[in-house]
């Protein structure tokens, strides 16, 4: 819910907004033009969501809105009420361990500088929810809207495929990690 007609520090009209982020309710007061990405980062201190272009092309700021991926730089905070928002911080398991997509990125060396990574993690989380068992081509398509300047995408695609296995309760094969380590389905031949 938003309540208008307040005036902030700079004389600008501000709105009271209630955001539900990673299951936690936050009440904040923002101008109408405040981007959701800025509200998450600077008002709520959830700096895991990154801003790479602010025109909706790079995908670094991708968050989940009611489980579907959305660009936080193309949404206003005042428009993000009455939805459930999930950021990268919300992908970690309750016990603090990495979620399956995060774990897959670690095992496959799916990140280098890490700046675009939160946007990939949220995008793939939503993608695997919709298609839990993607083919190789579908794994590539799943990340087709996000830019990464470091990895050349090879290991991100591998991470999508690995995450699909981890979500089903599978585990990585023996030996050192890395993109070429084998993946074993749970209960499958080892």
């Amino acid at each position: 819910m938003t309540v208008s007609a307040q005036t902030g520090e700079t004389g600008e009209a501000v709105h009271d907004v209630r955001l539900r982020v990673n299951g936690v309710v936050h009440d904040l007061r923002v101008p109408a033009r405040r981007l959701l990405s800025d509200a998450l980062r600077h008002d709520l201190g959830l700096t895991g969501t990154h801003v790479g272009c602010e025109h909706g092309v790079c995908g670094a700021c991708t968050v989940l809105v009611d489980g579907r991926s959305a660009r936080a730089c193309l949404m206003f905070a005042v428009a993000a009420v009455e939805v459930d928002i999930t950021t990268v911080e919300g992908l970690t398991r309750p016990d603090g361990s990495l979620g399956p997509v995060q774990q897959a990125f670690s095992e496959c060396h799916g990140l280098q500088c890490g700046f675009c990574t939160p946007g990939f993690l949220t995008t793939i989380t939503a993608g695997l929810e919709e298609n839990p068992d993607p083919t190789h081509e579908e794994a590539r398509d799943m990340i087709g809207g996000n830019l990464c300047r470091c990895t050349g995408y090879q290991n991100i695609v591998a991470a999508v495929e690995c995450a699909a296995v981890l979500r089903r309760g599978g585990s990585r094969g023996p030996g050192p990690g890395g993109p070429h380590a084998s993946i074993t389905e749970a209960g499958g031949p080892s």
Binding site: G48, S106, G114, L121, R149, G152
Partner: protein
């Protein structure tokens, strides 16, 4: 038994933070309450005189705390920015002011600096600053710069910043003229840019009570920024801390420093007594950071019947943009690294470094090498075509042989030292790359494809890359009383996995557990002596320094343990953080305890520290700390090589071009790479993958589209076509060769830039091969190439 971590694909420790959203990039740093935000008024004109700056409308904007223009700057801040790398040939070097004084020379140049409550208000205020310009003719592109009908700087005749000539092996023009075969080539390569996903950003906090400045900045050189800020703000070095937090990619652009904003942010923070932050947006990154590539090349080559080079005479025109803060590094690298793995015979190279009214040009991953590789490899293809010989065989007859190292070219490299290759095995590498793409049977494959109406082509390109240039890097290794090992090195990280690979090296050398090692980079509080992360130098330079520092810590640990255990140092081993007598593992001390013993104490604070107090240890007849010793279990060392190491590689690509649409599709991309001894093959392959993707962008998609008035028409991710996954090959075949460098203790060479160097060359060759455009000279002489340009090329060949 401890397994050596050198050469293992150890998973990265930094990922645990970054994957949880707990990375701390510059814009994430919490500097406490009162933070103000900056935005910059930038020139909308490529070349203009500033007539007036009217601030009346902006000073009344609620939330605006300060507006700075050139007239507000005093002392060293009012002087031009530093010319970082002076060179005798740079006779007309020019740098900009932190805020433009009288004249602007590119669209995007900083004119005024606004500080406000938040970035939104700061941007509102930027829109209210009224600047009146007297617009001057813009010089855009190398052709206009050479013609010099207009000048970028009134006092730089011919727009010529520098001209540098080098030669080796005889009188190249004469040798070319006398050669049995001669060719000349005119080549062109366009501008591109690093485009890290995180742009530039700086946060500063002035601490009045401590009389010191803390600065966080997204840079590739903490110590460089620190020195520049100290000089410009009139501070002692000891008053300035520069901390480089997580950096969201660099690829070269963040080695240039100080940016105007890196000075204006601390300047404003000190003046206002409040922390100030500047984080650029994407358009600002396009128009006010730096670009690269951008050369016109002329090659004259003379060769024998086998395609062996007899003489090579090269002239380069390099567009360095509006100013020259980074000196001549890029064209010097082009003109020396152009030689690749080959013996050129007599070689002469001349470059002209030219001013244009466009964004400055400073190194972008590869740093001049992609241009040089392009010139040389196009030349090799032209020779093969002229003689009707196999392209790989023409290259083979020109290769430096394994028994010819160290190989001296007789030229001066970018570090001012002789261009001397340390090691390599180029013939073996050529065999490997041919095997990866079934080179010898490709002709048959191509004929079969043609029979199906398909056009496929194969390209090959080879390079040598000087990596790990000096002057030095240092490292500090500190074993704490807990047994945890804290490591600091001064250069920065922007995604290369330094926290992991340096920990691998420390664990191996010191004998501690990998999980006990914590590495800090780019923090001048922890290591004030450093250079920076560029030129594929981090593993070579800081890797060697970390190794040496760990060795010093180990030597001290063994000395103390030998004393405490009453054993000979030679009989001791360190495994998993425990020093023990070989063959008698029960006689042991862990590194934490040795750390306790290393520091004689008066006061105990826990059980462990009791062991080091004055009634417990030491010979009462001697000083507690010996005259030639220091307290603490630490090691500090520096690595400063005589000259650079030379990594090498060969790439091959198979492409298919659509007969109707001229779309270019990659069927296979193969890389053979030699960066000496591998520390972490997983990370090296990741670096290669990323480089190849950037190379694909540079060869097929990315260009800076300036119009004739100097407006950058594609300054957004919508219009500047960086590759998504759909543009990169599905799989990259990588094979390694390891010829260790004799120049450092670990045999390492650099790997960071390898993937991107041969791209323009290898794609030009493969597309040309697919198209069969070989009748008279090279068909493809300008890169990047788009489908529409390829289509035009087809039409031109059909209707010459």
């Amino acid at each position: 038994m401890t397994i050596k971590l050198m050469g293992q694909g150890v998973q990265r420790v930094e990922d645990q933070r970054l994957l949880r959203g707990q990375g701390a990039y510059t814009d994430d740093i919490d500097v406490g309450p009162g933070l103000l935000h900056a935005a910059v008024v930038r020139s909308p004109h490529a070349h203009a005189r500033i007539v007036d700056i009217d601030l009346d409308a902006v000073l009344d904007v609620e939330g605006v705390h300060a507006v700075l223009t050139y007239d507000d700057l005093t002392g060293p801040m009012a002087e031009p920015l530093p010319l970082l790398i002076p060179h005798p040939a740079l006779t007309h070097g020019r740098t900009q002011y932190a805020l433009a004084k009288d004249e602007v020379n590119y669209v995007g140049e900083a004119v005024a600096f606004v500080v406000a409550t938040d970035r939104y208000v700061a941007e509102d205020a930027v829109g209210k600053v009224k600047v009146t310009y007297d617009v001057l003719p813009a010089v855009v592109g190398i052709e206009a710069a050479r013609a010099a009908e207009h000048l970028v700087h009134d006092d730089v005749p011919g727009n010529l910043g520098a001209r540098l000539e080098q030669q080796t092996g005889g009188d190249a023009p004469a040798v070319v003229a006398a050669a049995p075969h001669r060719l000349s080539l005119d080549l062109d390569i366009e501008r591109s840019a690093c485009m890290p996903l995180e742009g530039r950003g700086t946060v500063a906090r002035w601490e009045p009570a401590l009389d010191r400045l803390q600065l966080w900045t997204s840079t590739q050189s903490s110590t460089g920024v620190r020195a520049a800020v100290a000089v410009k703000l009139g501070l002692d070095l000891g008053q300035v801390d520069v901390i480089t937090p997580d950096v969201g990619g660099g690829f070269g652009v963040k080695i240039n420093h100080p940016w105007p904003e890196e000075l204006l942010v601390p300047y404003a923070a000190r003046a206002l007594g409040r922390p100030v932050k500047f984080v650029e947006d994407r358009r600002e990154h396009f128009i006010s950071s730096a670009h690269e590539r951008g050369q016109v090349q002329h090659v004259e080559v003379g060769f024998d019947d086998d395609g062996r080079l007899l003489g090579l005479d090269v002239e380069l025109w390099h567009d360095h943009g509006a100013y020259t803060p980074y000196g001549l590094i890029v064209p010097i690298i082009t003109s020396t690294q152009l030689l690749g793995p080959y013996k050129p015979g007599a070689y002469r190279v001349v470059f002209h470094s030219l001013y244009t009214n466009t964004v400055i040009v400073t190194p972008y991953r590869g740093a001049g090498r992609p241009q040089g590789c392009y010139a040389m490899e196009r030349t090799m293809d032209a020779i093969a075509q002229h003689l009707g010989k196999d392209r790989a065989e023409v290259r083979r007859v020109n290769l430096i042989q394994p028994d010819e190292f160290p190989y001296e070219h007789g030229l001066v490299f970018q570090d001012g030292r002789p261009l001397t290759y340390d090691s390599g095995d180029y013939p073996a590498m050529l065999d490997k790359i041919k095997a990866l793409v079934d080179w010898d049977t490709f002709g048959e494959r191509q004929r079969q494809a043609a029979a199906e109406g398909r056009r496929i082509g194969l390209g090959l390109a080879c390079y040598v890359e000087g990596t790990g240039v000096g002057p030095y890097e240092g490292a500090h290794v500190h074993v704490e009383t807990t047994g945890k090992v804290k490591v600091a090195t001064g250069l920065t990280s922007q995604g290369q996995g330094h926290q992991t690979v340096f920990a691998q090296l420390v664990a191996d050398e010191l004998g501690c557990r990998f999980s006990d090692v914590e590495v800090v980079t780019g923090d001048t509080r922890r290591m004030p002596y450093a250079v920076g992360t560029f030129a594929s130098r981090a593993a070579v330079m800081s890797g060697s320094a970390v190794h040496l520092a760990a060795r010093r810590a180990k030597e001290k640990a063994l000395r103390i343990a030998a004393d405490a255990l009453e054993a000979s140092e030679d009989d001791l081993q360190i495994v998993d953080g425990v020093v023990s007598v070989k063959g008698a593992p029960e006689v042991s001390l862990d590194l934490g305890t040795i750390s306790v013993l290393s520091n004689p104490l008066r006061y105990a604070f826990d059980e462990a520290s009791k062991r080091a107090t004055q009634f417990q240890v030491g010979d009462p007849g001697k000083p507690p700390v010996a005259e030639d010793d220091e307290p603490g279990l630490e090691g500090r060392d520096f690595y400063s090589p005589e000259r650079a190491t030379f990594a090498s590689g060969m790439h091959a690509v198979i492409v298919e071009t659509d007969p109707e649409t001229a779309e270019i599709r990659i069927l296979q991309y193969a890389v053979v790479h030699d960066c000496g001894t591998l520390i972490n093959p997983m990370i090296v392959e990741g670096q290669i993958h990323g480089g190849v993707a950037q190379g694909v962008g540079g060869a097929l998609y990315e260009r800076m589209a300036y119009d004739s008035s100097g407006q950058l028409l594609n300054a957004s991710f919508m219009d500047f076509l960086m590759p998504y996954v759909s543009e990169v090959p599905d799989g990259i075949d990588v094979d390694h060769l390891e010829t260790p460098s004799p120049l450092n203790p670990l045999g390492i060479k650099g790997a960071g830039e390898a993937g991107v160097i041969p791209s323009a060359a290898v794609f030009a060759a493969a597309i040309e091969d697919a198209e069969g455009l070989r009748e008279d000279g090279l068909a493809i002489t300008a890169m990047p190439i788009s489908p529409s340009e390829l289509f035009e090329l087809r039409l031109a060949h059909q209707n010459p």
